[in-house]
Symmetry: D2
Subunit: 340 residues, 4 copies
């Protein structure tokens, strides 16, 4: 933290800031400049809140200097975290594809889609049993029945499954049935849910909030790691901007930043970013090319009949094409050691 | 919903869309245009999902025409909802001021601030017992002890209290102690929490999500009303934009829009919007002038020692000045029937 | 500028940064911290570009500390700039209202509207002769004929006029006819135009770019002052965000920030912010309440026939009502010395 | 255009809207719905402005249905535009790389960098002679001397050159020296400049405005085509969002949208999007994978001494690596006909 003083700040005001810093147990280091004085705060153990200093007379600004997260940072743990689910690895050195419908609608639907995506190259199956919906009048998912169908899919296809948990109350239930617990974009800062996820025995797939900075996203992951679960997969899914040709704006620059700042794996969900099927394949290619460790994609064999998000679901044939294309890119880059 | 066809769409493609609309039980009305055909969807009872139609060949766009919410809309209930808490009214015809510290830190702190804000003109006291914090290492609130202090404040000052509920698990506890249950910006789309709030016996203050559209915000309120609680106060607190001179960008145009679309009261939180004390008084004046029904403002007698958000808390003297100024504006406009 | 080193930066890397700073003629002041070293850059005369330092090994970040503008800053000129046009003052101590149609369409239209707005309390008349339009197929303004009509309006009503200049080529012409030269949001960083405006003999009304930070806006004004014209009026007109219930999101927090940082007057254009008539009166009240020095509002006596932006133009009766309401607010606040 | 009426709109109000539509020479087609009436506007020749209708009583909304641009649209010209510069093609079927320093600083600097980028695989050389700078105190480019250096580069290396034109006054000069005329992000809606570019004899590279929608961007291109120059290359360079880990947020979903809507070539500038060197290579890979026709990248042999934007410039070795990686991706996708 750097405290920047007004140009006309008096010595007494500077002294007050220095005293306030010391009183909190930190070290204050005034830096007299040509135009104004700044004061560095040193020897703080954790995050320093600039607020109290901004309140003091003569203070113009309080500028944070260090990153606020710890356990998720590469400075804390330099080697990449690899998450193992059965014989599948998620993280550096692999390209993992998760696919399936937005929502589980029936056993027949789930199994039909699962067979399609497995044969095209997906390693995990996704499908919502509990669905967060903007409207209370929209289809909310099959609940436990959906979870049971997911179990059947795993049994019959051998694919581990990913499904979203929406609240504390149903967490035990979801944890029992699924292989990877998804926390959705609207819950990225549902801190009670994050803490519960920290006690889970399964990996957590944490989506970025639709207006979250990378720091906030990593801090949300920090909540999970801090409680004790270090199996966290980050998932970028687009952020909200003024642009409306896609539902959200996919922020692929998040990938190199996360790869640099954190040891956690990062995958991309191009389906929710785009919101329209015709952008999904190009964005999938871009996601792999930028260096993401995997993709989570919506696929439906009859999207025009889907109970939710049909417009963004790929047809099975399109998914097959997508898998082929992203493998070319990944294999090429990986062969030449050109990723992350 | 209006389905817009490609310029070159064939008649067979148009027929398929018409058939798909009818199959869902709606009425299809093709509108042949100079350049292209559009197809209106009529006689739908609730929200129509454009997705399935976007999937059909020859379809270029699916444009929603009607609003997705119902119970919160003025079309459904034209007269304004007025919320009563003891002898205080929130809604059209009143200017209600809620004030207090960001977090309850001690009985002494809470009572000191409560006396200050009551004597300056606040009608309700606010203070967090459970605090949502970006970092797991920041002060998380006093929990139940904080709630007990809030009870003491009410007992000693006669002011009803407002405090935030963060999760389902502590909802009963918060509901027992508080007069108004606040749902924070990060939980605006925590649908389990919204449903629980729908069963609450107390009014709910629902903050706008930091990247929520007004439609999404009203839909979140619809969740609460749909379950059975129609005592909802909306609270605008700034949205996230590229601008960084304030923590968030206060969106005051939300007020006339909400006043037109909904019968629910709307208040403004200028403190979280600004994030810096020196913007709070001007923004409070603007909030009252734009037509909001009230303000929720952070006040601290010693902000430089506050455990959270000190930088945005007004000093008691500043709060007094603010109350005076906003009363002038409100009284003037109200006297001339120039609001809402 | 503060250069933040990696935690693991070696002494040689720190030395290199120090040498690079000195080579540019600045003073380097290393600040050893608990976790990492930062290096302050002192004695720079103007803006320091962080780029070259970010390129050096071991450097994590380069954080600007001081403001980049000078002539527009209150640190440079503490007293408020008041702009005089005939006997009208724009700036601290006055509330100035500029009104008129989006575009000049005919002499009859201009004079009709001018009479309306003058009698309701507008001091200056606005109207576009050269119109920047998103589409080349939209009405582009009457050009010089429009300027001549503006002259007639001034002659007949005594009101000074404001009109937009779109380019260097027509600058002389516009300057000859108008009293205040408006530079539009799309030209805020048209630096050739800004430099030409710096040589103008008339005051310049500089609109904020639709995605400009306040720093960038003040830097654009700095271009004008730097060349020699210190008569600049800033005009906030909404910024582009994800929100779509208004055309732009009016950023009223810009007012206290500009009042603090700069000595220049600042006014608000609620019409272009809202884009819809029904938000204009509430936003005008808010603009005056927040402390702006004036308003620029679109008025049309027959908006449904307007050639541009009819949807946001007030009817004359609405404008009259607006003037009354904002005067109450301004007079109240001004009487008690409660502004800026 | 679809006019949506209030639920409670009276027949007389509907009739008024119908009459207003007819008066403008369009056809009105009322669409009675279950809840409300909508009215389609047909047989309009160009863009319909919704404003006048929004002004009528009983009207709730005016929703544009068709795209506003024409000459740039694929509906108008289905086949892809390929731009030829000497023996280089820009557009479908090629991957074109433009590289060079942000600003031309000296002949030695330009030639040194040009040799580097040519040998690594760049086909065109870029370098600014006139530089738009946020601050009037920053280096503004060498002007005509810079243009002369660009000529030397072309002469000695055989590479065509790209440079930015900032204003009408220097347009002739820039047009004389350069092979491709760049219009920068701040000038995307400088309509006088666009019109001048429409009369140019050389191809124009049009950058997307930092807060421009795709429709606005294509409309800006429409200005150029409408005057007579159909040689336009679109360049996405990131948009302004709340996210600050990169200077702008690169919006790669713009590529599939532009490829679908327009016949014009589209390239990506990852350097200005990122603002930091370490994101440039990953974003370049993503840009090619998403289907862009080319890249424009900043390269400097000594970025720590660059007079502008050094922090985002690649070292020559990094550029070489980048070229290799994007070629693998492009060749793979192209070999399998998997682009566009």
């Amino acid at each position: 933290m750097l405290i920047v003083m007004d140009k006309k700040a008096k010595q007494a005001e500077i002294d007050t800031v220095v005293a306030a810093i010391k009183q909190k147990g930190y070290t204050a280091r005034p830096i007299p400049g040509g135009e104004r004085v700044s004061i560095g705060i040193l020897n703080n153990k954790g995050h320093v809140d600039g607020g109290p200093f901004l309140s003091l007379p003569g203070v113009k600004d309080a500028i944070p200097v260090t990153r606020p997260y710890k356990l998720v940072s590469r400075e804390f743990k330099p080697e990449d975290t690899i998450i193992k689910i059965d014989d599948i690895s998620i993280g550096k050195g692999s390209l993992t594809i998760i696919a399936g419908p937005c929502a589980i609608e029936s056993e027949l639907q789930a199994l039909t889609i699962a067979e399609h995506v497995r044969s095209s190259g997906a390693q995990l199956f996704r499908g919502g049993a509990f669905k967060p919906r903007t409207s209370p009048y929209s289809f909310q998912g099959l609940g436990e029945e959906g979870l049971k169908i997911l179990s059947k899919v795993r049994e019959k296809t051998g694919m581990p499954v990913v499904t979203e948990v929406m609240d504390y109350e149903t967490f035990d239930l979801v944890e029992e049935y699924t292989d990877v617990i998804q926390i959705g974009t609207r819950n990225m800062q549902n801190f009670s849910l994050l803490r519960r996820a920290g006690r889970a025995s399964k990996p957590v797939l944490l989506k970025r909030g639709m207006a979250a900075t990378i720091d906030e996203w990593l801090m949300a992951a920090e909540y999970i790691l801090e409680v004790g679960n270090s199996q966290v997969i980050l998932c970028e899914r687009g952020v909200r901007t003024f642009a409306h040709h896609s539902r959200n704006t996919l922020d692929l620059s998040a990938v190199p930043v996360v790869l640099k700042e954190s040891h956690l794996p990062i995958i991309i969900d191009p389906s929710h970013a785009a919101g329209r099927r015709d952008q999904v394949i190009p964005l999938s290619r871009a996601s792999v090319a930028v260096g993401a460790h995997g993709l989570m994609v919506e696929v439906h064999h009859a999207p025009e009949e889907a109970l939710s998000d049909g417009a963004q679901s790929l047809y099975p044939d399109q998914f097959k094409k997508m898998c082929r294309q992203v493998r070319w890119i990944y294999d090429d880059l990986n062969r030449h050691n050109s990723l992350g």
